[in-house]
Symmetry: C2
Subunit: 431 residues, 2 copies
């Protein structure tokens, strides 16, 4: 009814201004209180008191030059606290469960992964185990000085209001996923949200992009399922909530039946199982027994660890496929050609429909990019109407299988950054 | 760099507030100056002076109750002036050119249409003729007291910066369309913009929706070409500028060759020419000689006229197809079944990818909806992953072939409403 200006309450002003200042600190290059004040258009006194509140809550640190005293804090450099609040990402997929804890800067600090066949287990069992894994990661994060607060769970299925309505590759139907994950988390004061894993992977891809990279792209994540996320000016496009089901875009209207009940879906041609079967590799082979079932590590900022997810998934059957293709195995290269053509047809259709400035392939497609890229480019060249005006659209994700769990952790961090007052009120003893 | 608050200049404040007040008048139910002031959060005195400026420019009218004098204007009802500035829509398509002039309320006031084979003529000739037709419509509009200011031209092709890069069904390549249309318009003080006709049709559909209808939908326009427009919260999604080329989404990867150079495009199965040929109707038959080549009329608000576009296109070969199908002709119903299945496959893919709350079929598909709808619904039911959670997505546009030209005129009106100060500065003698 009323599109006009509303008087802001003192409470909502504080909320707004805390977020404003924190966002400026996150964006800025070691700005001082005075610089931030000038940038956000508030008085120095107001900004100083807001910064103080953010500092006491552990969200912001202030580096005072060594030759200056602490009195008056004349021009200390402000930065997000890499030892403060943290976001927790959990990904439950068909053949693995993964956890990542990211600090406020978005850097992954703890990563855990478990190679496990979640298809065949009950949703209760799978989510309880995922909750336990996340609890272990949170404990490791706390030992490293972090305070995990927000958990985002990614699943390969349709999600509404933290419930998984339908995840065909897990055989889940109407699973209250947030509630079941919380059981495994135990009595930790953690907020839990649930989202589609391809949505989170697209967010992860966006957060990991180098400065200056575009903020509008179509991200396509290959795995046992195939999902997509359309990023538009840095915001994920969700349609009515179920957008991104690119795995069920039709390649051949009268093709073979898909697990979803339809015929000729992309997943039937370019999904991990279809690819492996076509290449003569057993998609249901057990996980490598030499690989420890769980790799856990708390590490310094941006450090590289031993048991990252990349290791866990690159040791799997997809790596076998890549090795065979590299050796010139005919079944393997034929399988990749069939998958690449089907994926190329669907990407071309998506580009004709949406014209995303970039198309980023991730998940197993990142690993298989050397064989897929030329085939995809050929399909785009021959099928995209606007192709000649935008010839170089294809990109390969640098995150591989980690995109979803990194994005899930990063989305948790974003929740804190968007509304620091909620975090402060939650954690301060005064309430 | 600076995401903070900026001091507004007096000039930009006036501009902002004029638009704010005009928007409120457009949205409101005969609000008074006092009501508008309360709604936008400005003082009554400020609003009164802004309203006065809008009234003098002919953008707003104030209906003072008969039993009140004119002194003081205590509470006259404000409304958009239906005899003020007007937007002009021009659509150049393969087999017709159409013009529509809409008043500030969005009501079409003048409509002209010319059944003409624009394929085969040069772009220069076609656009000059379209400009002449628009000039006639503007003259009729002026006689009805309107002031046409903004022309929006819709074409079935890829458009960038008012240039048509590529319109395969018109055989246009790199056509400076705005410039060529202006030649036909003569020395009229009109701004000209160019857009894709399916984009404008989606805007037309949005503007014609009843109050309370959703503001997010996928609009699909059938004709000789097939275009789409994705409306997201009332804003058209354009991707990198070329979104909506649904006619070139692949139905069968190895299908017949399309005019665009690719194989198996939707247009090959569900485009107007493919449909007519499959039904045994000559798509290139001349326009009905009994139909006057140009029907022109200036009429009252929301009046219905004799030579509307609906008449012009419903007398064509598509009407013949509908008549044959209604009579049970096998070739006609078979042709509609083939087209419906192809369109259904593509709409299902688009829904899997984008999950639009509604899908609206328009253009010739609106005319053919009785035969197409059941087939489309069947395809959606069997192919859309989230289908069971959103079963009733399909809608039929009420605008038929008029959507694009109505949208083009409405987009011109929106340009005025968005920035009335530009219009005032353009038209006031003081500059």
């Amino acid at each position: 009814m009323n599109g006009g200006v509303q008087p802001a309450s003192k409470q909502s002003m504080r909320r707004h201004n805390l977020a404003l200042v924190l966002r400026q600190v996150a964006a800025g290059q070691s700005a001082s209180r005075a610089t931030v004040a000038a940038q956000v258009g508030l008085t120095k006194a107001t900004v100083s008191s807001l910064v103080e509140e953010l500092r006491l809550a552990g969200l912001v640190v202030e580096h005072v030059p060594e030759n200056q005293g602490r009195v008056g804090r004349p021009g200390g450099a402000l930065a997000l606290n890499p030892r403060g609040a943290a976001g927790v990402g959990v990904e439950v997929n068909v053949d693995y469960t993964a956890v990542c804890v990211a600090d406020l800067t978005g850097a992954p600090r703890v990563r855990l992964t478990e190679r496990v066949r979640n298809r065949g287990r009950s949703a209760e069992e799978t989510l309880y185990a995922a909750g336990r894994l996340a609890a272990r990661a949170c404990a490791a994060a706390r030992r490293a000085g972090l305070a995990p607060v927000q958990v985002n769970l990614g699943v390969p299925g349709l999600v509404r209001d933290d419930e998984v309505l339908h995840a065909p590759n897990l055989d889940w139907h109407r699973v209250p996923a947030a509630m079941l994950l919380k059981r495994g988390l135990g009595r930790q004061p953690l907020e839990v949200s649930v989202d589609n894993e391809a949505n989170l992977a697209a967010i992860g891809e966006f957060q990991a992009r180098p400065a200056g990279a575009g903020d509008s792209f179509l991200y396509v994540s290959g795995g046992i399922g195939i999902g997509a996320g359309l990023m538009v000016d840095g915001t994920l496009f969700r349609g009515g909530g179920f957008a991104g089901e690119i795995g069920h875009v039709t390649v051949r209207p009268d093709g073979g039946e898909c697990g979803c009940g339809a015929r000729g879906c992309l997943e039937r041609y370019a999904g991990q199982d279809a690819l492996l079967l076509a290449a003569g590799i057993d998609p249901a082979q057990p996980a490598d027994p030499d690989l420890p079932p769980v790799g856990a590590e708390a590490r310094g900022r941006r450090g590289e660890g031993q048991f990252g997810l990349a290791t866990a998934t690159s040791e799997g059957p997809v790596d076998q496929l890549a090795a065979l293709a590299a050796a010139g195995d005919e079944a393997a290269t034929d399988a990749l050609t069939v998958a690449g053509r089907a994926l190329g047809v669907v990407l071309s259709s998506a580009v004709n429909l949406l014209d995303p400035p970039e198309v980023v392939i991730g998940g197993i497609y990142a690993r298989l990019a050397p064989w897929l890229l030329p085939i995809l480019q050929e399909q785009l060249n021959s099928r995209v109407t606007s192709g000649r005006w935008r010839p170089d659209r294809l990109q390969v994700s640098g995150l591989g299988a980690e995109a979803a769990v990194r994005g899930a952790a990063g989305a948790g961090v974003q929740t804190i950054l968007r509304d620091p007052s909620a975090y402060i009120d939650l954690t301060s003893p005064a309430g």
